[in-house]
Amino acid sequence: MAELDTSSGGGKKGGGKVRSKKQSTRVDLTAMVDLAFLLITFFMLTTTLAKPQAMDLAMPDKDEENKEAKLDIADNRTMTILLGNKNRIEWYIGLVDKPLTAPTVTNFGKEGIRKSLIDKNKEVLKMTGNPKKGLIVLIKPSDKSNYRNLVDILDEMKITNVQTYAIVDISDPEKELLKRDGIY
């Protein structure tokens, strides 16, 4: 194993008999190799892991010219998520004036919005019977929400595998709803 032979050469003992004495110039490189590989690992990981992650986001096209040409979608497939203040969210299904599911205040995380998203997505898929026609989520961030909330909710879309979602401006009745429930 690791050894460092520091005995001073064979000298003039004559003859080629004492072979082992020739190794005297060898230095043990184990520690050096250890260090080198440690540094390699460090540089490899920092160069690849330091690159920031990018979340692609496609916004709905703003067609200013023909505003009437809008796609109608079934209200029982539409879930609206309102982002309020202090990392709280409120969601409902259907239209704001006659929601099919009463607005619920919840929070981010496993037990909060994710559970509702997964449940509702399953329900809608069962109802339509078409794997391409899942839940449609409208994300409406209010002025009181922050950027982290937006990224978190987009992340939830990826996690719960909701295919159709869009970021839409919040409307006044929805602001009222948030105010009523004290999260605006």
């Binding site: 043990d28 490189l29 190799v33 330091a50 920031p52 950027y147 937006l150």
Partner: protein, 203 residues
């Protein structure tokens, strides 16, 4: 006949070759690693579970934090071309020396009238908090829009590829600031862009 004494072989292996390889690789990684540039506007990006890496070329980054917006575009030739275009557009002349210094700046956040002063500053001064006040985005003087537009032209001219835009926002940034940027981008029919996030730890 006396016994032939078999010399006991040492278990030490010759590590010279291994050491050579290790240091060769080490040198390679050190040289290819780019030193992290200090940022004039440090932001704390929110975490997410996405694992798509951000491309490094043909990319403009909008850094948002504290209500201020900073702009940066990748690639030195693109930056040179961008400054030329901007100086035409705003009738401000830049010397070749200033252009060169500008091409080395990762990102900046000042109105174009003050750009000369920022270019003249040293790297340390430039990155001090509060020196750069952000690019104006008001409807009367929307310089950010101009920067984005000219950067797209410049990228197209130099690399003949579309420029992609990424938004690097601070987690605590209020939504209206972000919305403002998204609106500016949508005005130019950019409906696809990336949000920069950091990697989320396992839950």
């Amino acid at each position: 006949m006396p016994k032939v004494k078999v010399p006991r072989k040492s278990t030490a292996i010759d590590m010279t070759a291994m050491c050579d390889v290790a240091f060769l690789l080490l040198t390679f990684f050190i040289l290819t690693a780019t030193a992290r540039q200090p940022e004039p506007l440090p932001v704390d990006t929110p975490s997410s579970t996405v694992k798509i890496k951000l491309p490094q070329t043909n990319m403009a980054t909008l850094t948002v934090g504290d209500g201020k917006i900073f702009f940066g575009v990748a690639g030195q030739p693109v930056r040179v071309r961008l400054l030329e275009r901007m100086s035409d557009r705003f009738k401000i002349k830049f010397t070749p020396e200033e252009t060169k210094r500008f091409s080395l700046m990762e990102s900046f956040g000042v109105p174009i009238a003050n750009l000369k002063q920022v270019i003249a500053m040293s790297g340390d001064e430039r990155n001090k908090a509060g020196v750069q006040k952000g690019i104006p985005t008001d409807s009367t003087d929307n310089q950010l829009k101009e920067w984005i537009l000219q950067a797209r032209y410049a990228t197209k001219e130099i690399n003949n590829e579309e420029m992609r835009i990424s938004i690097k926002g601070d987690a605590k940034e209020e939504y209206p600031t972000v919305k403002n940027i998204i609106d500016i981008l949508q005005e130019q029919n950019i409906n696809k862009f990336s949000l920069i996030t950091s990697l989320e730890g396992a839950e």
